[in-house]
């Protein structure tokens, strides 16, 4: 009854609408949340084969929730900008009474008794389902899920990127209006780059981690994925802010991220980091250079600078994140929740078999690595050194930001790689090279697609900013998005 804006069978009208347009249509009652929700459900169900995007579909409860929001709207209840809008939630973000598996056998049947803080903040939006991911967030290609693989929406032969692969691939396929992911060493940014959508890692502390199942707590951060930069800003407005349930969340004032987003980059000072640009393929480098030219044409000043400690960043990231993994994942012992082995006589055997059967290979690898770097013999040589590298990188970023407003960098080494490509572990880990510096420093970074490679897959760049200055990088990204008017890959 609300759909004045759409022809009877022109459901694709919705797929062409931005989050802002959808929000306006709902607010003006030209579209109902039920209609919108059913559109997305039908889209997912009409695929012949399982796309692998959802681990748990919440279609029935989604329609009920949508109907409730429609009723509230008709009754004149004050609602949020994202009220009634369906979204996908990475399956490591706790959702009350909805399975939250972390794509692991260990949590296959885990039902959280509480919502993550971000889910409560989006309480009048509609959860369509829990999205697939690399087990416990560990992976670059989304090939480490216990349940199923996801293929890249642009070309089935390629990975969709990880670890928030389901959230990025689902956004790219138009399965929902936006999605939540989490980013420890690039897990929002890399899949966004591989799937041709926009993704943001906010400043550490900007968005509460309360209810995000821990991987490496000093770097884990929830972030949004959306089809365009303005939509990312809209989601950031809703999910940002202090939470008493996360002592690392910040009381720094939350601005309106959409305010002045269209003001462009005139007089902005933008840095390019030589060490990052030297690590990528010709096509990835070209996307950075083209973007830099666009910025200059729009009135920004672009300089190339160096970040000397960057060569240690990947090593420091893998040492610190593995150390924190081995500590955080100690809780999975088969007692209070999660998978529990049947093969045991003693309590100790129960722990060992539960963990051996419940965790996948990548998770075990990182637990072993973390145990190694934290052991008495190796702690000084690896863990302490890695913490020093992190401090140094943070300091070098601070010094850059004394002079520059933001940094332009490539978002991936050479775009998406082929599924099952036989790579050494160290080659796979190296995919994170461009993303871990911002993670180590706890600073924000936004990824956006800027073109197409010869193989048809997207190219993307990232814009890194000062702590709590997401506004500037969103403004720069919005300008780039407008300047480039890039050819959509889908």
């Amino acid at each position: 009854m609300f759909r004045e804006a759409f022809e009877e069978n022109d459901m694709d009208g919705i797929s062409k609408m931005s989050l802002k347009d959808i929000s306006t249509s709902l607010a003006e009652k030209r579209l109902s949340s039920v209609e919108l929700t059913e559109y997305y459900i039908n889209k997912a169900m009409n695929y012949e084969s399982d796309t692998g995007i959802y681990i748990t579909e919440c279609f029935e409860s989604a329609v009920k929730k949508a109907a409730e929001v429609d009723k509230m709207r008709m009754n004149g209840t004050e609602l949020s900008v994202l009220a009634g809008i369906p979204f996908g939630v990475k399956d490591n973000i706790c959702t009350k009474n909805i399975k939250t598996t972390c794509a692991s056998r260990m949590l296959e049947n885990y039902l959280p008794s509480y919502n993550a803080h971000v889910i409560d903040r989006l309480s009048d939006s509609v959860i369509l389902g829990k999205t697939n991911m690399d087990e416990f967030g560990m992976g670059c290609g989304c090939e480490n899920s216990y349940f199923k693989k996801i293929r890249n929406p642009i070309n089935d032969d390629y990975v969709c990127g990880g670890s928030s692969g389901g959230s990025a691939a689902g956004t790219a396929r138009g399965f929902f209006s936006f999605a939540l992911g989490s980013d420890t060493g690039g897990s929002v940014r890399l899949p966004s780059a591989f799937c041709g959508v926009c993704g943001m890692r906010p400043t550490y502390g900007r968005v509460s981690r309360n209810g995000l199942i821990a991987f490496a707590s000093s770097m884990d951060q929830i972030g949004p994925i959306a089809p365009n930069i303005y939509d990312l800003a809209l989601v950031m407005n809703e999910i940002s802010g202090w939470d008493s349930g996360d002592f690392t969340s910040s009381k720094t004032a939350v601005p309106d991220f959409t305010d002045k987003i269209e003001h462009g980059v005139k007089n902005m000072k933008i840095a390019l980091i030589t060490e990052l640009n030297s690590k990528v393929s010709e096509e990835s480098l070209k996307s950075v250079i083209d973007s830099a030219v666009c910025f200059e044409m729009a009135g920004a000043k672009v300089d190339e600078i160096i970040l000397p400690s960057l060569k240690y960043a990947l090593a420091a990231y893998y040492i610190i994140s593995s150390a924190e993994t081995s500590s955080n994942l100690e809780r999975y012992d088969g007692v209070k929740f999660g998978y529990s082995s049947e093969k045991y006589n003693t309590l100790d055997e129960m722990y060992r078999h539960t963990r051996a059967e419940g965790f996948g290979r990548e998770v075990k690898r990182r637990i072993l690595m973390g145990t190694f770097v934290l052991s008495r013999e190796h702690c000084d040589m690896y863990y302490e050194k890695a913490l020093s590298v992190r401090r140094c990188i943070k300091r070098e970023f601070e010094s850059i930001f004394n002079e520059y407003d933001c940094i332009l960098a490539p978002a991936s080494i050479d775009g998406a790689y082929k599924i099952g490509e036989n790579k050494e572990i160290s080659d796979i880990y190296s995919e994170d090279l461009l993303n871990v510096p911002a993670s180590l420093a706890g600073i924000p970074s936004v990824v956006l697609p800027v073109g197409k490679r010869k193989n048809g897959m997207p190219t993307a760049v990232q814009i890194i900013g000062k702590p709590f200055d997401e506004k500037t990088i969103l403004r720069a990204a919005h300008a780039l998005e407008g300047e480039l008017n890039f050819e959509k890959c889908l």
């Binding site: 003693t346 072993l368 590298v389």
Partner: protein
């Protein structure tokens, strides 16, 4: 040479003979990737503290209603009354 069995023991992970070889190779590979930190001269950053906790963000201790015990116990494998059951440890 990494003593993978010792690491697995510390991490409370049972690993099979096949996995022993697999994880030994994997860890050698990862360690070769991270060995570069050994070259890092950390004199320039010694004495700096890691991300200090912002005291503004510390809250007062307040007694609040806890989670419902029955709800929490729903995720345990075996329980009796108000308690979780585990195998005998001695």
């Amino acid at each position: 040479m990494i003593d993978i069995l010792k690491l697995a023991d510390l991490a409370k992970l049972y690993i099979s003979e096949d996995e022993k070889l697999l994880f030994s190779d994997d860890l050698e590979n990862i360690i070769s990737l991270v060995n570069s930190v050994a070259e890092f001269d950390d004199n320039s950053v010694s004495g700096c503290s890691e991300n200090a906790v912002n005291s503004e963000c510390l809250r007062n201790d307040l007694v609040k209603k806890s989670f419902d015990r029955e709800k929490i116990l729903e995720n345990a494998k075996e329980k009796t009354g108000e308690y979780i059951c585990v195998p005998r440890s001695f």
